[in-house]
Amino acid sequence: MAQITINGKVVKAREGEMLLGVIKREGIDIPALCDHPAIEPTGNCRLCMVEISRAEWEGWKKYVTSCLYPVEDGLIVHTHTPELLEIRKNLIDLQLARCPESELIQKMAEDYGIHKTSYEIRPDSDNCIMCYACTRICEVLGCSAISPAMRGHDKKIAPPFDQPPPDCIGCLACAKICPTNVIKWHDEGGTRTIWDKSFEMISCKQCGKKIITKDFAAYIVEKRSLPPEYFDLCDDCKRVETARKMGEIVARVEEVAL
């Protein structure tokens, strides 16, 4: 166990865990857009900046992204100094220029008193903040269907050669994890479309309800060696089926008892 000070309060934390986790656990609210427990931190959005220092540093301090900074004994952390607020305000200002139509960024900007970005607004913005949460979650899944493409001003998240990605299985993890809801998909009549690729959904054999795509189910079956028949019915029909099977067991038990 390590002992650190956050905003003057002494806090116990596990040595090596990331500072952001401790800060959140303490109920201190700092913005962090690209942080998600299911993916490794990369410090891309940079909003979770905090000020750290140590007693032996004689007043020296530095600014670090808390999602990437491991806890060490004796750290002195500040989360809301005027300098930090200025840094965060600047970052959000930049994001607002990049993603002028993102509701989340707009709200954050309002919270920090920015009504209009002081930078040039990016024309034809796609509202992507380049946090790579989508590509990282796809890596966790083991597909890596999408990745950052191009450089500099043209940089974007895209499937290889802007073609429908061959490795995508239509799980929607990238779309659901995206903090600014950039990745668009739609489900229509048994077909799901994402990244310009169409997927056939599994239809419940009894009621026709659709939950996941055939490719995703096949992927789970292969990776986790589950029986494919688990995916035949939807959850509602499976519950009815469970009740029927349990009823059969009850009837048999009662028969034996008689």
Binding site: I220, L226, K238, R239, T242, R244, G247
Partner: protein, 136 residues
């Protein structure tokens, strides 16, 4: 595991008190959630309260690619880490008993968590069709 959730179907009278208890225990911002337990009639006047069986070899845990479902060794429940969950619905599709489901009200994936060790359904069940007992 120190506890076991016991379902005795032939004691169930289909009063659906468990469903109410569940929905209200899992309320958020004063909005009741979707119930994780469903009394289903399989024959006239015969009921089975269908809820998560907290399997020994759970399909939901296997299907979750993001490690969001884990067993709580204290209560025996397989708990869903809401922070980790990306709502891909893999567990909903994989559970062979249909006991991982979607809560449309709060837009999240839900499953029985045994209320963290004091299941409200068992506490409210008037006929003791649902019981939560210490074993060994």
């Amino acid at each position: 595991m120190k506890f076991r959730f016991k379902v005795t179907p032939n004691l169930c009278i289909g009063c659906r008190t468990c469903e109410l208890a569940c929905a209200f225990t899992h309320q958020q911002n004063s909005k009741p959630g979707r119930s994780r337990i469903y009394p289903i009639s399989y024959a006239p006047d015969k009921w089975v309260p269908v809820t998560c069986l907290q399997c020994d070899d759970p399909a939901c845990v296997k299907a979750c690619m993001f490690d969001a479902l884990r067993r709580n060794e204290e209560t025996g429940a397989i708990e869903l880490d809401k922070e980790r969950c990306v709502k891909c619905n893999a567990c909903v599709a994989a559970c062979p008993f249909g006991c991982a489901l979607n809560d449309d009200v709060h837009d999240e994936v839900i499953k029985c968590d045994l209320c963290g060790g004091n299941p409200a359904c068992a506490a409210f069940c008037p006929t003791k069709a649902l019981e939560y007992k210490r074993i060994a």
